[in-house]
Amino acid sequence: MKSSVIVFPGSNCDRDIAVALEKMQFKNQMVWHKETRLPKSDLIVLPGGFSYGDYLRSGAIAGKSLIIDEVIKAANDGCLILGICNGFQILTETGLLKGTLLRNKNLKFINQDIQIKVENNETKFTNKYKKNQVLKINIAHNEGNFFTDERHLQDLNKNNLIAFKYCDYKGNVNEQSNPNGSLENIAGIYNSKKNILGMMPHPERMVDELISNTDGVNLFSSLLN
């Protein structure tokens, strides 16, 4: 499977995701944001970081870069797109995913391992997980507070487009297990065709027992499945 990781000025998880993809046997290429052509890819990843120093709004400037037109075209042709953290913010700024990420409710940058629950395990990204499986995974963000309008929220629920929700280690989804104030504890969502996933947690940080755990591995093996 061929993957491309788009690199923006200020991306800082681009190499982590490349290491994870290569470990999982993806043939990966790094693509600079000024490129106007994408290499043939089955998966495009928008990595975490602070593209353009979060100027204006997180992801706003990256969302208008040259390569993004190609990413939008590929997405519309059904290519799989994964946006992690800042990548999720960029996806909302491009309009590929609806909604937005506000400043964390407590105004603090949060870097910690939390729990999320797999809400939908019937997608390209999550078919190797069990439904309602609880994953321990790292978050590291200042703007992760998912917000959207009432109609989109209903659409997400009705069409099973919520990928992950923040929960406690037993899988309870409630206010105590919501680290950043996200609507309905939402940690990740799909577009209506489910070929685009945006998520705040970092699966690429959870692929090695030596440094963390391997709860992120199945996201990549799902894609290969």
Binding site: R57, A60, E93, R103, K105, L107
Partner: protein, 78 residues
């Protein structure tokens, strides 16, 4: 021609920064009811026709400067 743009969060969107500023002012003994924090831009454009110029600025707001899901904006000619 010069314009100013004020961008604020919509009424229903939580503004945690505004809340912190508000609480600090109250703790300082100052009297106020509510604060909403926003952003301010000044834009100069080379266009003589005012209605065209305003239209250009409006396009800039919609395409980049404002996130219409959570923010609203006001344009003023300076």
């Amino acid at each position: 021609m010069k314009f100013s743009i004020t961008v604020t969060l919509k009424k229903d969107v939580l503004d945690p920064q505004g809340k912190v500023v508000q609480n600090t002012l109250i703790n300082m003994g100052l009297n106020l009811r509510n604060i909403r924090q926003g952003k301010y831009f000044e834009i100069e454009i080379n266009e003589k026709d005012q209605s065209k110029a305003k239209k250009n600025v409006d396009e800039m707001c919609k395409k980049l400067l404002v996130n219409l899901i959570i923010e609203e904006y006001k344009i003023n000619k300076l």
